[in-house]
């Protein structure tokens, strides 16, 4: 009867404007059978604004697969479109 705990990124969703939604699952298992699981969520966006200046989002702390998806998704045109959308919606 071995209890184990694992944390994995189990869902990566790419939205239309390039936002990457990440779900991390924490699972407690007994002999390989899941006894309980819980989810943690966060969002990574194609570009980040500080003041009036846009810059690339720091994804160095993200899971390797999230980094791969983000890097493949966030082309210059995606970043530009995301920035334009946010600026258009701001006050």
């Amino acid at each position: 009867m071995a209890l184990t705990k694992e944390t994995v990124v189990d869902k990566i969703e790419v939205l239309e404007m390039g936002q990457v939604q990440v779900r991390t699952a924490t699972r407690v298992k007994e002999d390989g059978t899941v006894l309980s699981s819980s989810f943690h969520r966060h969002v990574v966006v194609p570009s980040t604004k500080k003041g009036d200046t846009w810059g690339d989002t720091d994804i160095s702390g993200e899971d390797a697969r999230v980094q791969a998806v983000a890097t493949a998704t966030w082309t210059d045109s995606v970043k530009t479109a995301y920035r334009a959308m946010v600026d258009a919606n701001s006050l």
């Binding site: 969703e13 939205l15 239309e16 404007m17 936002q19 939604q21 779900r23 819980s38 989810f39 943690h40 969520r41 966060h42 969002v43 966006v45 604004k49 500080k50 003041g51 995301y82 959308m85 946010v86 919606n89 701001s90 006050l91």
Partner: protein
């Protein structure tokens, strides 16, 4: 043989031979019957001219078409049905009598078997994909997701400076496209904040589908509540982003940035729409 009673009659070919044993009807226009010697039942009847023989109906056997089965049907392999499974009297029960086993309803999509519905032995009803369509046939009538979890919110300024949080965990429940979050947040320290407060969310706010129809604003409960022109701070969310911003309303003026101060405690609970 006459009517004498025989103990046994046995017709048997040689197991290694290729010969065929033939029973030939006698030259008569009357029906012919092969009767078991001990009269336990009639096996076959001729049908007119005797060129062929048909089985005699047995009330204890189900015919190929029609008939009513009065006992359980036990099948050790698949049952392939080209018609419907109909209940014609009382309830139609589909049950798994094996202990702790599930019930599956599956379909085939693009040649592959797909689980459309799974009913767990504990009673959980699982729709692995697709969702629940209620009140119509459009995607807008489909409830396709439920999830509950947690988000470690990040609290930052819009420009420069830093915010260090104590409690920053918010719970969320997502039902379809509606996300509800709740939580209590403690501001530990704040250093030279420039630009309004930004608080991250667990899901991106939906992009607008008409004008600015996904925008929202909510008011937080606060301990040591700050004011500007008698107005407490508000939190505003814009379509397509994944944050809420802290703002003050001002008398006959544009919004003013709000940044928290050390020692403040902020309670948030609100719902918003997401695209996924």
């Amino acid at each position: 043989m006459g009517d004498s009673i025989m103990a046994k009659v046995k017709i048997q070919g040689n197991a290694s031979g290729t010969g065929v044993l033939t029973v030939t009807a006698p030259n008569t226009s009357t029906d012919r019957t092969i009767t078991l010697p001990d009269a336990t039942g009639t096996l076959l009847n001729s049908d007119g001219d005797g060129s062929s023989l048909t089985g005699v109906a047995d009330a204890t056997k189900l015919p190929l078409a029609g008939g009513t089965m009065t006992g359980d049907l036990v099948v050790s392999a698949d049952v392939d049905i080209t018609g419907s499974l109909n209940g014609t009297s009382g309830s139609l029960d589909i049950k798994n009598e094996a202990n702790n086993q599930n019930v599956f309803i599956k379909t085939t999509s693009a040649g592959s078997e797909v689980t459309a519905l799974k009913i767990h032995s504990g009673g959980v009803l699982e729709l692995p994909s697709g969702g629940l369509r209620v009140g119509g046939t459009a995607a807008a009538n489909t409830l396709d997701d439920y999830e509950e979890g947690n988000h470690s919110s990040s609290w930052t300024t819009g420009n420069s400076g830093s915010i260090t949080m104590g409690r920053n965990s918010m719970a969320y429940v997502k039902v379809g496209k509606v996300v509800t979050i709740t939580g209590e947040f403690d501001v530990g320290s704040v250093s030279s904040p420039i630009g309004g407060l930004r608080v991250s969310l667990p899901f991106a706010i939906a992009s607008h589908t008409s004008e600015r129809n996904m925008s929202f604003v909510t008011r937080a409960g606060m301990y040591h509540i700050p004011h500007h022109e008698d107005n407490p701070p508000l939190f505003i969310g814009h379509g397509g982003t994944s944050i809420i911003e802290g703002i003050y309303e001002r008398d006959d003026n544009s919004f003013l940035d709000y940044n928290p101060q050390a020692g403040e405690t902020i309670w948030l609970c609100f719902s918003y729409f997401t695209d996924s």
